[in-house]
Subunit: 318 residues, 4 copies
């Protein structure tokens, strides 16, 4: 089932900064290679991969987990909940390297001639946004409103997906003015600075006091959960994708407003396939910039300090 992939690009994610800062739990054993958003070209295809038609040079993107294919989760398509998975760049060596060993189960071939390098962030930022969108999409009808909190690597894709796949009005909320503007450029119907109340008043005003049908919170830290829950309408859904904070709500409010608070984790292999189709159709466009691996320290620092629009990608061959 094994496949060796020549890494073309490895996306740089906030999680990488957390791991480096020692915030990961458990802490990985050193030496250890970061990188869980990987794309490139097949270098060597094992027997199963070869019989599936994979061959050296095929451009590919990798599902972030290596899943077993046999457990119940895998057999319902929920690869990310595989009970015996490995997660390269998280709990085993990842893609900040020239080659990575993965499984045929993680490989998605791209159309011949595709440049995989700038697409690497779809492998995690993209799939994670898309999976969250899928969890709330059935609630988004014409006239609905969806809010995206955090317009970074994930949020900038979520705005585009919401516009491409649902009829909802899309509202972006970000800390910096640059990202508020970025949200609008990406197609948001409105975008507001988080300000003091995290955008609650702006969202309520935008929805005539009713609240949003769905809130996708890509921050989920520093008070955004408190504000996110306040923005939802009766029967609406607050979907958590970020991490760091705590979500809480009085049970009386949960029942009277019949709220849904849900977590969303990575996504399935099939979802990543669909996402690459959306990209190929031009319905979404990743905003990514490629740097040589030697810039890794600066690139990670830029991310931590909020200076990245979209996503940065490291090219280990430069």
């Amino acid at each position: 089932m094994e496949v060796i992939v020549r890494v073309g690009g490895a996306g740089v994610c906030g999680t990488d900064n957390n791991i480096q800062s020692g915030l990961a739990n458990p802490t990985p054993k050193l030496p250890y290679t970061l990188g869980h958003e990987n794309a490139g070209w097949i270098e060597e295809a094992g027997a199963v991969a070869a019989s599936a038609g994979m061959k050296k040079g095929d451009p590919v993107i990798l599902h972030p987990l290596i899943s077993c294919g046999l457990c119940k989760a895998c057999r319902t398509g929920n690869d990310m909940h595989c009970i015996s998975s490995k997660f390269p760049g998280i709990n085993t060596d990842g893609g900040y390297a020239q080659f990575i060993k993965t499984s045929v189960r993680s490989v998605i071939r791209l159309a011949p001639g595709t440049d995989p390098v700038p697409l690497a962030p779809y492998a995690d930022a993209g799939i994670t946004s898309y999976h969250a969108l899928k969890r709330v999409a059935s609630q988004l009808n014409p006239g609905s409103t969806a809010v995206v909190i955090g317009i970074g690597g994930l949020g900038h894709l979520a705005i585009q997906m919401l516009k491409a796949l649902t009829p909802a009005f899309v509202v972006g909320i970000a800390r910096s003015n640059a990202k508020v503007e970025f949200a609008k450029q990406l197609g948001a119907d409105a975008a507001f600075p988080a300000g003091k109340d995290g955008g609650v008043k702006d969202v309520l005003d935008f929805t005539n006091g009713v609240g949003a049908d769905a809130v996708l919170d890509f921050v989920a830290d520093k008070g955004t959960p408190d504000n996110g829950v306040k923005m939802i309408k009766k029967g609406g859904t607050y979907c958590i994708i970020g991490e760091g904070g705590i979500v809480s709500d009085p049970t009386i409010d949960m029942i009277v407003r019949e709220l849904n608070i849900i977590g969303s984790f990575v996504g399935t292999y099939n979802e990543l396939s669909e996402l690459m189709e959306l990209n190929r159709m031009g319905k979404i466009k990743i905003v990514s910039k490629v740097y040589p691996m030697s810039d890794v320290v600066q690139v990670m620092k830029d991310l931590k300090e909020g200076r990245v629009l979209g996503r940065s990608v490291l090219d280990p061959w430069k």
Copy 2:
């Protein structure tokens, strides 16, 4: 659309004690009549009700809200979210009285000859349990486990419904030994005293460490939300029906376990109709005891002090 109903029985709910204690928000204006679980016989049917075939003497049970039928919520069947509803016994006069005025939209006729009196608690305790069950039922497959926290007026019905309508193993959790035993008599596959950890260890043991697919929390107070969230498996649902406490969880846990925390509120008219069919088929049996209205003080006290198995019903004609 009006219908006058001769009240045969009015169920006594914990909410009635809360209102009496001044905990309702907003506090109702006095004088005020409690009673939001009502059944009886049609006394007088207005023109619309008469043309729908309703007539004096028909045994009936009442959907707890009086809904408009015209707002978006009503027109999707979610009567309980009607934007211009009245809730007799909550925000207008209720059924601790010999007659109650309601709307044809709230009336469900029972099979001819049915004694409506002991069935009154289905009108709120029943529908609220059933609606919660409907919200989680799609997750309950053979081999799944559902937990019911709180074996009172609602929980004792939830256990029966779960056994009748799903293939899940059902686990009851209660404070008192009497209610632990009651849960078993009602068909629970296992029942545990809440103990120090609210039953978390017992549920994890029962599920081989995996956790429950769904937890229905009819208490949602005094720490049960903390424990309820701990009992759920990856991708599972913690459903809140009780009130009083606060639910909270770190966002990292919400995403890694892909949890769903949802509130459930009353239920729809169609759900109450289905419930009466379940009762008629003998698939569920309400445990209720009827008292004369003159016993109201004692009955409400017994409920507050946890001495009621199932539900008490007041008969305003005795």
Copy 3:
């Protein structure tokens, strides 16, 4: 509940020609007024309507059925299956008239200042397309293909809705070259003349031999069902909206391909509301041309002979 509406426009539907030709079953009793796609302005609002804020001059579009609001179908939102409905223009007098009497339950108010006249066809052609789309939308993911058979009053809207609300590739099939071109102008990714095989080969070629995920057949006559069923992929859905023919398939094919053959009928009040929101957002645009009522004979003839692009609307005041 009554409302008198001054008819601004009444859409002309193929069903009108069928009724006039005596094909309706049962045949309406003469004298009788056609017209089941109506929009205009409120002329007089009854008490319930007035208390809901409706007043003379409000631009409105009418749900095609007058539903009771009390039966099980109405109470789940399926107004079109109301067991005691009237269907003006089908089984009672319709909108080829200066005024029409309807119920508050059928009235959807448009944004102030909206010209309702050209929008009339949304009342039936629009809602019927939208309801069919809703029935298949969950199967349409990135990379899916949806086929629209018949690019007339309904099909020309279906193409736009599919493009606006789903990521599917959309293929149109029509008899005339003019309508094949029309389909492309409306946004279809491809459009083919029905030809000898009803477009089966073209659809299979377009989908690399796999077949379409969903086929919406707005003709459902003259052999289109046979061809429609052949175009579907394993697990796909053939949705019937037109009428006149017979659908049939060997049961062995139904099971091996796990096909779904479904009928779709009109749509709900809430769906018409959503549709008007889609129109307001500019996501779909009806192609309609308004004629004075005196042109009715010619307009109906043009429709019968396939010379109408989009929909014709009669203005009873001209």
Copy 4:
């Protein structure tokens, strides 16, 4: 991925008779071994199976298809639509033999000590009934009616499953009086002989003229589709599991009644797992009788001539 299974029992299915009669399409090349319903014990576990904990002597039941685990169908759990599957006993050698070679992906381990022999029919008759049930279950609420046409190897399980997993009234229809009685013994609320009209009048009478919410047709031949479609209520579903006939309906009827006609094919690995759990819980009980392999000719003849109640199983070691 390979596993050698010592066959304990192989169920005898009507399809076996069809293959023997030369009705299969394509006809299998001789020599060829029948048997697509197999259970037994692991004889030898390959490396992957061994690492998953499988070992010689484990009692097992086999998913009827050998699926790849890599195609889109497999990765959404729909193993039976695997694009590169083998189907032992259908298109490759099956289980009328002492040993069968299969894949770890097809093996479901039973509880230690379970006798797999009489359970063999769950592998196809069981899973196929269960999958069909899953396709219609969401439509079956208290007060609903489900009809089972054909009370044979599949139908006798469908009746039990419907009673165990849904609140619907269950009606059985069979040709012979013995099977009508069998249906009642299995828990059907009513059972009728097919008679001249295939039971249409009886079902309409049972449902007060409304029709059934779902019809599961395990015959789907000799006119049952015509009758099955007539029995359904508005919005109901006619589900085809048998084969041989043709289903057909005028498109006008499909739309006005908004019917759903669907095919159902085998089932997923996870569904077979759930089914074995249902069996273990005692919620369903297969009626099967075990014969030595030397009786194969008589057993297949008995089936063809309608003399089998439940299912016959061949033991290749006797």
